[in-house]
Subunit: 341 residues, 2 copies
């Protein structure tokens, strides 16, 4: 089993893989031709027709023409986390370790190797959102899992594992530092203002309009005031809600529409860049309803879309002081104005 | 002037460049051929013989054969921060901005375009360390500058600005989040244990020996227990000292030796990878001596060397939960065992 380790200085957890690799692994990985690999069409186990090779099916939305499914969820083929076992938290000298208990699943977003969900129309995009909702709702029932990540990497330079359109579920037995910092920041703001910082950001962005890419009945898409990546943008529900799993059915299609539309705009403006997106939602074990309906008032789920256009320098990596060559206002203008087919 | 902006959620500051770039900037940047560019030998303004084109000389160590200098410090040609002006902190709606007041300098580590300091011998390496010390000591006198970064990027994929051997000084009017998190973590440990966490880490690493690459009279080089990058390593003074600027003369050569030796090992084992290193030292305005000699007890300067071998995924970028394909113990073994010429 892989090992989780805690950095004693920053409190962040990392995973050390059990099959530790030598220097040649990185040379080979970086030399891989982007157009060839074990995940070529024809050898891709995520494709329709190879379902029997892809491991146990965890979930599927069925129907339509053959292959008779729209989305499928399967276990990650080389999982970072496994569901069976004990957490086994222990100290070793001054350090802390635990077992890599968790969940790691692949969400197959299309039966076809080369057609993304966002190019298949709003019905398919809504099925993808429904699949996300179903898996996050299921995984939060396991009391060992503190946080469920939903993330998508698209393009080799964004670290994608397969070319086939897919996203990934990674449920961890700890709340990772990147998420904890966000929860703490939102809590500090709520303590001071007695308002949700994300609701305030949505109001401010709607008021000035300078960074809005588009909005729908239920969502806004905007470039944040102080982003980490050029052309980074967020999708935020207009109505306060801390947990994505609580998304109402009438909001699913609306989210599918704004995510599909903005991804198409982003891919058009930036010439199909490598990108990742991640869902930020409330941790699993936080009760979301109490007698006074105040729990969960200080967090607000959202999606962060991160195009990977430039390498980060050592200064940026070390200081988290990011340098933006494009202002968020200009980025929003480019994205807002784009009319992809 | 560029604009600094504060992320209201995480408290981090970023810089938005005044000459905002369109999407084509990133396409062109990524299409640049790694072997050609404005910084080719012959057109490189950092080279010996072109001193008159490189702007005002801030500092130099002179002597030896022509060109009569070993190291030089000049202003960054496209500076992120400028020394003249007012901080101008102000609120805009719910957000915070300020002017990009600070310092941004290039430390030229060799008169020759293709010969790194670490390949020029211990005398040159010690001059580079002395140059670092001199500039950090000077810049901490400016009360507007809260933190002085020293960082080196080597290789296009590590974001280097010039091919010519150089490092960079970036002095900022705020303490960036990446540094503040580290200071806060060290302070929390000191509060609880009444000991410096870095001294404890040095003791633990010397005791187990599993992650030590090498040690000298005054320094150890080791792979941290929970790194962010495969083959990442740190150089730490054995004797407690919060500020690099206070390095004693007899330690300068020793630091030059361990930095030179480990860089050569790392480049040999990993086949000359892109890498960055950064100096982490105490913030500028913290008094380091008081009547009881206890100030600065909770921080300990060190150098972090970060090879850039793999792209980070969206999960890693968002959660700061890093996946290590090589264990720090194996990485230390590879580096320790390497005998480059």
């Amino acid at each position: 089993m892989h090992e989780l380790r805690k950095d004693p200085l920053l409190g962040k957890w990392i995973a050390v893989l059990s099959d530790s690799k030598g220097p040649d692994f990185y040379l080979e990985k970086n030399a891989e031709h982007p157009a060839h690999g074990p995940d070529d069409e024809g050898s891709c186990i995520l494709c329709a027709g190879r379902e029997h090779e892809a491991g146990r099916e965890i979930f599927a939305i069925r129907g339509g023409n053959p292959p008779d499914w729209y989305t499928r969820v399967i276990p990650q083929t080389s999982p970072l986390f496994q569901i069976e076992g004990e957490l086994g938290r222990r100290g070793v000298g001054m350090y802390d370790r635990m077992n890599s208990i968790g969940a790691n699943e692949i969400i197959i977003e299309s039966p076809q190797h080369t057609i993304c969900a966002e190019d298949s129309g709003i019905a398919q995009m809504s099925r993808v959102i429904t699949t996300y909702k179903y898996r996050l709702s299921e995984l939060e029932k396991d009391p060992r899992l503190r946080y469920t990540h939903l993330c998508k990497d698209c393009g080799r330079a964004a670290g994608e594992g397969y070319r086939h359109p897919h996203s990934q579920i990674i449920a961890t037995p700890v709340i990772p530092k990147g998420i904890k910092d966000e929860l703490d920041g939102a809590k500090a703001y709520f303590y001071y203002k007695e308002r949700c910082i994300f609701c305030d950001i949505a109001d401010e962005e709607m008021r000035t309009g300078k960074r809005i890419i588009m909005d729908t009945a239920n969502f806004i898409a905007f470039t944040p005031f102080a982003p980490r990546f050029p052309f980074e943008y967020w999708i935020l529900p207009k109505k306060h809600n801390c947990a994505f799993q609580d998304i109402r059915n009438e909001e699913v299609e609306d989210l599918g529409f704004i995510l599909m539309s903005t991804l198409k705009k982003m891919k058009y403006v930036l010439h199909d860049p490598p990108y990742s997106y991640v869902l930020h939602t409330a941790p699993n074990r936080v009760p979301r309803k109490d007698h006074w309906h105040t729990l969960g008032d200080d967090f607000h789920w959202h999606i962060e879309v991160m195009p990977q256009l430039l390498k980060k320098s050592g200064f940026e990596l070390s200081s988290e002081f990011y340098i933006m060559a494009t202002s968020p206002e200009d980025a929003a203008d480019y994205l807002k104005g784009a009319s992809p087919l």
